[in-house]
Amino acid sequence: MNPTDRTRRVKDILWALAFPGAVAMVFRFAFGLGATTNLTDGVPWGLWKIFNMVAGAALATSGFTVGFLGHVLHLKRFRPLVKPAIVVAFLGYGSSLFALLFDIGLPWRFWHPFVYWNHHSFLFEVFWCVSFYFLITFLELSPTLLERLGLEKLRGTLHKAGGVFVIIGITLSSLHHTSLGSLFLVTPQRLHELWFSPIVSLLFIVSAIGGGMMVLLLAKVLYARWYDPDKLFYPRTASGELCETCVNPDENGKGLPEPPHRPQIRALATASAMVLGVYFLLKLGDLLLRPDAWSALLAGTWESWLYGVELLLGVALPVVLVSIKRVRYSTGGLTTAAVFAAGGLALNRMNVGIFGYFRGAEEVYFPSGLEWAITVGVLAMAGLAWFFLVENFTVFDERWKVRASASPRLLSSFDRLTYLWNHRLLNGMERITLIGLVVVPVAWILLYSPYYRDKGEEVFPPLARDVERDTLLLDGNRFNMATTFAHAAHQQRLGGRESCSECHHLTLPADQATPCNQCHTRMEGRTAIFDHARHAEHVARDKRLTGLVPANLSCTECHGEDAAKARSTAKGCLKCHEEDMHPVDPPAARLALEQASGYRSAMHGTCIPCHKQKAVEVDNPHLGDCATCHPGRTAPGEDLVRAVVVNSEDLAAVH
């Protein structure tokens, strides 16, 4: 297989992930944050901010660490890795900032922090350092881009300034990576104590330095896998078979057969493992010196398991792996260590930024489909951009020069978009169109549904304790503010099965057992229940009116002949419905029939007047008190009997 075949499938998958992302971005701007995300007031920061931005920046640190090793310490082994590292940093920060545009509520004001300053804010510092560092990565990348464009003079100037850019980049990075950790210092009482550490800033920068180099290692391995396997996997003979005997001894002359670029990634992994080792010790010290964290870890909650996974699989395991010689001399082994280290780093940021807040917020946040779509879509777009950069510029090697001489156009090999222009209907473009045609509508349908999520208040019928409706638990909104109602006993006292209309007002025609919540759909507010259209049609049918639209002729049946057609001029409901409706409270029936009161006032309105009346009849003055239904106590020094809020779970335990 040639490199084009190997990468084509990967790119197709990336396109298929990028399309839903684009659809989700449209939804995000059309409907707003609340409709598209599962964020709440309890968990206001979610996937986009924590995964894309905080974790994304941490994973892209190789740009400054490898720059430091290669250009400041002048370690020759890291030199060839500096350009790939800059590309990783540019794409990592670029995609993070891009995703952030969807996360902030008013994205068109992203420039405000440049104008309105609050230098007391960690976020202010993060914003300035990250945006200027992104600019620096672009300047560091620009000589590579200019080389292809042939602007040699400008390239030379920028290249000469490269050392200054590296040093500024290192400074900005060390500032914003510590500040990204400090962001969480403001939440001592909300963040889980396992992750709320006074040295969180230090932990953030050390782990980011360690994990970031492993991400660069992965990029190098993937590039070699797809374009240049001989460099990292065993060289092949002319006939294409593995050449076990091609010995490239390592520097110490150990004589192990080595592909030529493996020392590069081994150096990366070793440097990373040393930093991660320091990080592991810092983490352990932090854990042991804070008794609350230590006890939280031993508590065995799911948080302590997450912490264990993060620390053991994400930090300790890669360090141990790299310290084993057989792993260090195996591309697969180094890749495995890198995957665990990068995953552990991302998990740590998710723990600090998302999972650690669940306990404090007393709710669990799971990102919506749209949030996932944008997160994955942005990463897929960054992946496609990576392919574009490594294929067309001197990043890992100068392979592009071969293609450029064959086809001088800059975008000639960038994916199928330009393929189509150059080679009409080549199957690459057909495929990408097909991906778009299939994925975009599917994504549209799948992602649209969250917008319909019913966040409205719902009132439920009473919970019956048994089929005989002996005792009912009245807890309309399932809010644990409930009272028990001895339904059977009330029915018996009021006269048995014939007495329903004593309490149930039966306002709907031919009403038998309509649940209260059919009309009293809201706990506090009124609900309009008068169906004008249905009445007009019914009258027209009843009076056998004729015409194009018979219902239009029925106005005068309820509204007066000359008066304006308004609610105030209509005749009352009971004028027609005397027979089939039995409102409890006839004088106020007019409004009551047009609007259902809130569930709570409906219940109170049914019980309290009757109780007050019976209190006089049976000479029991406390019958009308709140405490009769809501068991309460008398407050010290006061006569007021207060209503008590009964927890429905307690009630369940009693019965």
Binding site: G32, L33, G34, L39, T40, D41, P44, F68, H71, V72, L73, H74, K76, R79, P80, V82, K83, G105, L106, P107, R109, H112, P113, N118, H120, S121, F122, L123, F124, F127, K160, G163, I167, I170, T171, S174, L175, S182, L183, L185, V186, T187, P188, Q189, E362, E363, K455, G456, E457, N477, F479, M481, E524, G525, G632, R633, A635, P636, G637, A643
Partner: protein, 256 residues
């Protein structure tokens, strides 16, 4: 001088007239406020800037912005959209806000709420009814309360009043004024006959959050400066050594 609000939990019957008045004063949607009362865990939202929270068996406490003396949200907002006004109220400038929601994370009392239901959303919180207090009036919630739960005045006077009540009814009240020292002190003070921990507020901390974070923040220029100087120095030394050893600098020559 700093204004404040004294909340006497022993007097609250949980009628929520203060909430209705707040909704009306701030021109919020009553239907949405009703809905949020029923659906949200604490009844506080961008449509409902104050709420009355049931405490255990039969006590209630009004909950809204505490107007801290050293507010965490003010120090957290990166564009300075939140400020502590000279009279003590913590106020929000929607024209500066970019919608990052860091204030929501920073507030120890979880007060700032977001207009999640809008396409162009802003943060919302109690601002102590500037319209009314500027003319010498009282906030809407204070006016609406018929049980005498809320008392409006200068914070110092309110502290004295709270102490007087604790002294006069030592058997009734828990001998503590919530908000006197919590998180550096708040403009809204609570006295109660039950433990207010049930409000879910972290009341054990006496240091304000800006006070805790400021030293870390102040270290920033030092970190930046020393990193810059250190890296530049190391670079200079190594390059000089390479030059002396006769190796031409790689940085000038190229990467390969």
């Amino acid at each position: 001088m700093s204004v404040g609000l004294l909340v006497d939990v022993t007097r609250c019957t949980g009628c929520e007239r203060c909430v209705d008045a707040c909704v009306q004063q701030n021109r919020l949607d009553p239907a949405k406020a009703d809905q949020d009362r029923a659906t949200l865990p604490d009844g506080l939202s961008a449509n409902r800037l104050t709420t009355v929270q049931p405490l255990g068996s039969d006590h209630f406490a009004k909950k809204a912005c505490m107007h801290c003396l050293e507010p965490s949200c003010v120090s957290a907002c990166l564009v300075g959209g939140l400020t502590k006004r000279s009279d003590g109220a913590v106020v929000y400038d929607p024209d500066k806000c970019i919608g990052c929601r860091y204030c929501m994370l920073a507030c120890p009392f979880e007060i700032p709420r977001y207009q999640w239901d809008r396409t162009v959303p802003f943060m919302a919180k109690c601002e102590l009814c500037e319209e009314k207090t500027a003319e010498g009036g009282e906030p809407a919630c204070v006016e609406a309360c018929e049980e005498g739960v809320l008392k409006w005045g200068q914070r110092d006077d309110l502290l004295a009043e709270a102490r007087r009540r604790l002294q006069n009814y030592p058997n009734l009240y828990v001998q503590r004024i919530w908000g006197e020292h919590e998180f550096g002190g708040t403009s809204v003070l609570y006295i109660s006959d039950v433990d207010l921990e049930e409000l879910g507020w972290p009341a054990s901390e006496t240091e304000s959050i800006p006070h805790m974070t400021e030293p870390v923040l102040m270290a920033t220029p030092a970190i930046g400066g020393s990193v810059l100087a250190g890296v530049a120095g190391v670079n200079w030394i190594i390059r000089r050594r390479m030059k002396l050893r006769g190796e031409e600098s790689h940085a000038e020559g190229g990467e390969q």
